[in-house]
């Protein structure tokens, strides 16, 4: 199954929120919708969910042309729950809106509460819960009706490291069950842990859409990690390379087409000690900045 976002554009007045965005999200994979604040992630999610219409373009699903609302599971960035109502009531209400009967929803709630260690809070009012527990309730609400497409916006907000690991595990399990899983975050550092493919947005424009492996490979061909006692000046003066990051005696350098690897190694070896030279393993953050530079 495939969710295709085709040439989506959206403006609010004179402000272009999204320009010609095209990408696909595959079932069984976790797609990271990534970008800094104001990149257009939330607007794109709202369009995918059918909350707002695009100015142009469309969203299609390989199975059905227009997917139905009950096939979607969504967690917005805020804790979107009724504060003055109980955990159980909130979950049942949202599940009923997604087409489950009250009995069916009640049966499904308990195992999820147990899984996320919320059983004791079943009859607690949302306003009495901690930030992390509210987030867990929200995550459950998006999964209870067993949707085929799951979209989470900043799902780790308020979660401690243990809960975060548990949530990533759930994401993996759901993806492995053949779900289309889209996770949006502006925290690029954390996305390395769970993304199979990435969609990078910046100021409403698509920077990159590919599997994490391909994106990294493309980038890794252009990076070297060098452990040496050479001073930074050496890299500045050598043609075709640029320091990306530096750590005591190791450097990560970006290289371009004018870079002569053989000459570089020979010259470095002649003047300094080389402990290690390897092709770099890029993080999503690096991929983002590299793509931004290219664009």
């Amino acid at each position: 199954m495939l969710l295709s976002v085709n040439n989506i554009s959206k403006s609010f007045g004179s402000k272009k929120a999204l320009v010609n965005i095209t990408f696909s999200a595959l079932s069984g994979k976790i797609t990271g919708l990534l970008g800094p604040n104001g990149a257009g992630k939330t607007t794109l999610i709202r369009i995918i969910l059918g909350i707002i219409p695009p100015d142009s373009g469309n969203i299609t699903n390989s199975d059905i042309k227009t997917f139905r609302r009950y096939e979607l599971g969504y967690v917005p960035e805020e804790h979107a729950l009724y504060e003055k109502s109980k955990v159980f009531d909130n979950l049942i209400y949202f599940a009923e809106l997604k087409g489950l009967s009250k009995q069916e929803a009640s049966l499904r709630v308990l195992p999820w509460l147990e899984k996320l260690e919320l059983t004791e809070y079943k009859n607690s009012y949302i306003e009495t819960l901690s930030k992390g527990n509210r987030q867990k309730v929200q995550l459950i609400a998006s999964l209870l009706h067993d949707p085929r497409i799951i979209i989470w916006d900043e799902p780790f907000s308020g979660l401690d490291p243990l809960a975060r690991e548990k949530v990533i595990k759930i994401m993996r399990e759901e993806a492995e069950r053949g779900k289309i899983f889209i996770v949006s975050t502006h925290q690029l550092d954390s996305a390395d842990n769970f993304c199979d493919s990435i969609v990078l947005l910046h100021k409403g424009k698509l920077l990159l859409s590919d599997s994490l492996e391909n994106a990294g490979k493309m980038l890794n061909d252009n990076y070297l990690e060098v452990s040496t006692d050479a001073p930074p000046q050496f890299f500045v003066e050598f043609s075709g390379c640029k320091i990306i990051s530096q750590n005591v005696d190791s450097y990560k350098i970006a290289i371009d087409s004018t870079f002569d690897k053989k000459k570089f190694i020979a010259e470095l070896n002649r003047n300094y000690d080389i402990k290690n030279i390897a092709t770099g393993k890029s993080t999503i953050k690096e991929i983002f900045f590299h793509s931004l530079e290219l664009s």
Partner: protein, 385 residues
Amino acid sequence: MKNILNIALWELKQKFSKRAYLYVTVITPLILIFLVKFTTGGVSERSVSPVTLGLINTESSFINSFRSLSFNFGTYNNPQPDIIPVNLGNVSVSNKISFIDSIMGKSGVDYILFKDENSYELISRYFRRPSLISKIEMFTSLASVNENSLINFSGNKIRISTLDLNTGSEYSTVDFIKNTVTIYLLPIIFIFVVVFAGNSFIRGFAQERQGRIIEILLSSCSRNQLFYGKILGLLLVTVVHIFIWWAVAKLFLENNFSLLTTSPALGGLFFTLGFLLYTALFIGLSGLITTENEAQHISSNLSLLLVVPLVFSTHVIASPQSLLSQILSYFPLTSPPVMLIKIQLEAVSINELIISGAILLVSCLVLIKLAVKYFNNGLENLPNT
């Protein structure tokens, strides 16, 4: 349809699952009942004064029969006659109602008995009508003239049998509840529930927008389902609210209380249409609101609109056929409470009912359509975090 019902039931549950809300809903009518029941003893003193009865007929026989009786069937201790007949002349008027209404407005005549050939028409300052009916009944029983048609007229049109008058023309507490509180009660309840429902919706919706619950709702149902679910929810909340009040009143006022003493179907119709009109207005405007503060500001201003008919209610009760009363009955934003008063008073013609009802219905449909549009536009501009 299922989602509309789910949303409506959730709105209902959200309100009545809170204990404080339930307590207030029950305690408020209890306080009002206490105030009405135990503080209306002084009301009787207010009406210990002669009342004037204007007599108009196109023949002379009816007035003559009044004159021949010397009209001495009721006096106060001072000793003042408790009713003063005023001969308003032998007039022939094409528009009886407006003519009589203008006389009553200008001359301070409380009641007018109109006779045209063999038919009688009784016009009064409505809130005192039961007392007049009693007098007319006394008159017709004391008079040697055979006024069966008058008795029939009174009996058919006005509730005489349930009156419980004290001596003279004094009102008892029961009369006060029946004749004054009841007339004001339904319009006041209307205004209260509209303000309550509107405010509660507009603030709740602002919270849903701010907290982005609205996005979850919209990812689960269509905008129209959300709109109509909210309206239905408010209607349910209102019905339950009124039912609780009604039940409490019935319990503590026993048989002396009725929300709609006359034409419950018509009263219900105007109540419902009015409620829908204002609810649509509130929901439509909610599309413009993004924060709770804005919600509070807009709902307070809208609530002021509803005070207008209340301000004019005394005038409407005293002169239901005046130009101002007519305008207020036709203007859709004021017509629901004004028509509720008029229906209680039986001071409304079929034509007025039809015209006012039609204007209200059309306004309601137009406003709902506009409300859907503005509500939807508002959903286009959801807050970003």
